[in-house]
Amino acid sequence: MRKRTSRTELDETALRPVTSSGRGFWLVMLPLGLLVLAALFAWGWQIWQGLGSAGYNDQAFWSIYESNLVTFIGVAYGGAVVSAILRLTRTAWRAPITRLAEATALFSLLVGMMFALVHLGRPERIWELVTRPRLSSPIFWDFVAVTTYLVATVIFLYLPLIPDLAALAGRLPAGSRLVAWYRRLSLDWRALPAQRRLLDGAMAVMAVAIIPMAVSVHSVLAWAFALSGRPGWDSSIFAPYFVVAALYSGVALVILVVAGFRQGYRLHAYIGEDHLIHLAYLMVVLDATYLYFTFADLLGEGFSMNNSVVPVMGQLLTGQYAPSFWIWAVGGGLLPLLLVALPWTRRTWGIVTAAALVVAGMWLKRIVIVLPAAAQPMIAGGWGSFHFTWVSITISVGAAAAIPLLMMGFFRMFPVLSVTEIEELAEEPVVRPRAHAAFGLPQEGDEE
């Protein structure tokens, strides 16, 4: 059981990254920053040399960047929906992790959106989505859905920050340049009952609204594939399949982020192993659902033995993409399930390992969704092939590094914990479900 902490300790923990950054902070930021700079250089090189430098060709026209786009926007979806569901169900243990989940959603979405630009050989033409929209194109609706979701995610992150900003403005040194910004952004928050009602109402509206918005984003993303009519993508379950995949990988990333910040920012007093276990349960439910969807998708296509689908299925299950597919099935599907299901691996290390396997495995799964269907010959000739190049790898690694970089930069200015929410929930009586004991979770009075 985590020990109860005082308000002063809570403030100190939440404010520590804002008021002072230790050497460890810069030791992490520096390599992350270098990776992002390397990615920007590689992108510049790609614009100069063309998409061929990233391994693209006529027969592999969609590949790693689409996989990255789906992966990063997917994890963004997971972060926001986890937070929204925890808020709507008024889950008592949510308070220390909602801000991390919401920030994960925002920054992975920003990075994911960048891949729409990176994929374009002529990125300056992105404006033609606005100036020359084609209403029947899923790409246009993707653009509409993602930008709407971005605005919603920013509001969803901002609203719970308001009380904390007001509290922080009073606790930071008066000369601090952040104080003026905190005061402005806190909207004269005085914790009045009427203000609390207004803010709670707005947060409830946002928590409800962001779930269908997130579903729409990933559905539209799936339709960009499914409506193409290309064998391998032309599947009626692609939209819910993508939505579940997004939730699954999103919860896994939230686990990694929560575990990482818990360790790096010394938040053990507020985020315990039980938080990770709760999130892990959510992850394995989604894992099982995703495995079922995969089975249903493959069974439907494989059983019908449609001539146009058979070559794709062959490449995926026994051909050149089979190693990637089966690595995902075992590493990204079954192993995480076991790591969380077995009591002796249901510890922090086991859950973090499972989450890391899920994030990496789901990226690989997106590759095997995108590439075989794109590379199959539709008219004549042999199969296309995509070769990873230093350009596409550097951009992808840099993008992955950008998420923790942006999050650490954000939490250099804003509190990493939702201080007001933690306090409010600490005052409420804690009701633990019976399942808590049945699954061997820590109980009141247990020593951690």
């Binding site: 209403l135 509409v144 709407t148 928050w189 009427a194 207004l198 803010l199 509206v205 946002m206 918005m213």
Partner: protein
């Protein structure tokens, strides 16, 4: 050796004299006319090339290739087809203009090499055209853009909702603080 060389020279001379391809082609005359075709449902141009021999008489069974100059791809000559001349020396081709404006047609004599004639040109002012490319059937085309507009209206409604939530918070919180401050001030004064 000498006999072999002599034999080869004689054989070569005989072959050269007997081959009509190596003989200089006779000078013919090719003309081209382009007029609007009558009785066609789509806007159509009737191209008529006429080939005359050196004696001014029509020449039949000679291939004529027709071209139109395209503004695309840097102004290339696009082949429209090859038609043999009839007994009246005429080769006719019906062409549906792909764009409006002045069209520049050219007819080239391909023939069998017995006749040579410089290309003939003709221009035609097309007031109507038939586009070369047709849009593929749009998804849900039976519903036309009704679905797209409905979804667009939904997207606009979501944006309005987001703006309303934000405006309500941004304006409401400071207002509530001011009202509370004012009421506590009044209470303080009256107290």
């Amino acid at each position: 050796m000498m006999r072999s060389l002599l034999f080869a020279a004689v054989l070569g001379a005989l072959l050269a004299l007997s081959s009509p391809a190596l003989a200089a082609p006779a000078a013919g005359k090719l003309t081209l006319q382009s007029v609007a075709a009558i009785g066609q449902r789509q806007p159509t141009v009737q191209l008529t090339a006429r080939l005359l021999g050196p004696d001014g008489k029509p020449v039949g069974s000679q291939s004529i290739e027709f071209f139109v100059k395209s503004d695309d791809f840097g102004g290339v000559q696009v082949s429209l087809g090859t038609v043999p001349t009839d007994t009246g020396g005429q080769a006719k081709l019906l062409y549906m203009p792909r764009w409006t404006g002045t069209l520049a047609f050219t007819a080239h004599l391909i023939g069998d090499g017995t006749l040579a004639a410089p290309p003939a040109t003709s221009s035609y002012l097309a007031a109507a055209a038939v586009p070369a490319y047709h849009m593929a059937p749009a998804p849900l085309s039976a519903l036309r853009f009704g679905v797209a507009w409905a979804v667009e209206a939904l997207a606009v409604a979501v944006w309005v909702m987001l703006a309303a939530v934000l405006i309500r918070v941004v304006r409401g919180l400071p207002r509530l603080a001011r009202e509370t401050e004012a009421s506590s001030h009044i209470e303080g004064v009256s107290g």
